[in-house]
Each structure stands twice: as structure tokens, then as C-alpha cells.
Amino acid sequence: MWNVHSRFLARTVWVRNGEVDLAYRALNRVLNNEEVFKTARLWERYEKPFRKRGRLCYEKAHEIYNNEMERKIKFLMRKNRANPWPWN
């Protein structure tokens, strides 16, 4: 492993049993989790500061909304329990 060029140690995926599709999908999943494609797309063209500010505001608001919605759904799912008075 130490003789291999460092370029091939990171961001590599081994193809097992000739299944190229699964390997490619695993690689894409890891790269998406680390937001590699997102940054590459952002840096393709210059993003002016006013657009960058707007994008960051939107992302923060989106995250807060998602978290609050998850909390609400978790809370409401507590109604999904066995009926304590089944004879009624």
C-alpha cells in the first residue's frame, strides 16, 4: 500500500466481482456526502458576493425549517401508540 502513488489512495473504489455499477454508485455516494460535485459546480463560474450572501441565507433558513419540521413530526408520531382503552 505504501508503494502506491498517493493519487490512487484517496477517492478510490475497488471493483469486486466485476460489478462496475455498484462500485461507481458507492464512489458517487461518498463524493456527494462530502459535497465534492457541489463545490466543483460553484467554482465553474464566479459567484458574486451578493449571490453568495443570498445562497448562505437560504441554506441556513432551509436547515432550520427542516430541523423544526422533523421535531414536529417526531412529536406528533407519539400519538401513534396502542389504545389505552380498547374496550371503548
Binding site: 500500500m1 473504489v13 475497488w14 462500485a23 464512489l27 466543483a40 464566479y46 417526531k74 408520531m77 407519539r78
Partner: protein, 210 residues
Amino acid sequence: MLNHLFSRFVPLSITTIQQSLRTLSFTSIQYKRSHTDIREGTVREVNLHPENIQTPLSIDVDKYYGGSGQVRETDFEKLIGDTNNPEVPQMKYEDLPIVHMKCTRNNTIVDVSDCTGQQIFRTSCGVVGFHNAKKGTTTAAQAVGIHMGNNLSRRNMKHVRVVVKGTGPGRLMAIKGLQLAGIDIVTITDNTSIPTLHVGLQRPKKMRRV
């Protein structure tokens, strides 16, 4: 920030029970990415498949990465080659040829080089016979992969490692084309260029407005 605000209002001079109740009511809301189970706190919070619990010592690495592809230290020391052919010696991973694929929005270019880095062969969508806008499609990428695969098998290079660069339509189909031509792909690496912030960074072009 909200955590800090709430924690300041905890009173100190009260009995222990009242104090614990007060701290409960003033606990802070934490804004974080919550990946907790939706069934928490319900009666139906039953683990239906307890055998699939993975402790840190017994993690199934292939499953964690969705089936296949996780690299282990011992993989790079394996010898790669045909086990049926005893005459042809098996190669180390470092001596395999490299196939570079540059996948842009309008084209896919494929290069083959030695383990040292010397270029052997090169194709693109234009060589295969596509023109203009049709070069930036998946079918053209597959044709390039097949063309490259035929050339490689003619030169007796059946085991190959692939390096992909860029986001484009030909990212997957070029690899599939290679596979269709009968080449054994050992690894897939990704080499998309992510510009890092440093002093000499050149500003990219301005946005395209159409």
C-alpha cells in the same frame, strides 16, 4: 447562540427538586442535523431485526458503503491477472496501465498511459465520428469506451485502472463501454479538480446569462 441565552436564566438559590425541574424547563433547543429515529418515545419502538446491529468492532465495511467498493490495505498488495493463464505473470497494482477520462459538458476525452505516465493512446468523441453538440451525450461516451476497449485488447492490456475527471454525461457510460469491450476494471478513482483558496488563485469567468 440560543443555547447561550437559555443557559443564563438558570436560578441558583432553590431546593434540589425545584432546581431540577427548572433546569428541565430551561433546557436549550439544539439546532443540529437530527438523524434520530422517528419512532423514539413510542410503544412501537421495537428493533425488528436485532441481528443487524453493528458494534464498532464488527462493522461490515462492504455493507457500510452500500455493497461494494471499500478499499482495504490488503487490496493493493494483491496480484492482478488471469489465474487460468499460467504463462502470463500476474501484475502488481502499481504496474497497471491508467485510463484517464476527462468528462466535460460538451465532450469526453479518454487517454491511456503507462504506469510511469507515458501516453500510449488517445481518443475522443470526435475521433469516433460525432460532431458538435452530439459529442456531449451518453451514446457518444459509450462509443468512445468501446473504441478504447478494442484498442486496449489488441495491445494485450486487459487489466486497467480508471481515473475519472470532471462532471459530465460521459462519466458512467465511458466506463460501461470499456466493460462491454471486455476489459477488466480494477479500480475507479475520482480526480475532479476542486480549486483551493490560495494567494495565486485565478478568478473563474463570470456567470453566463442566456
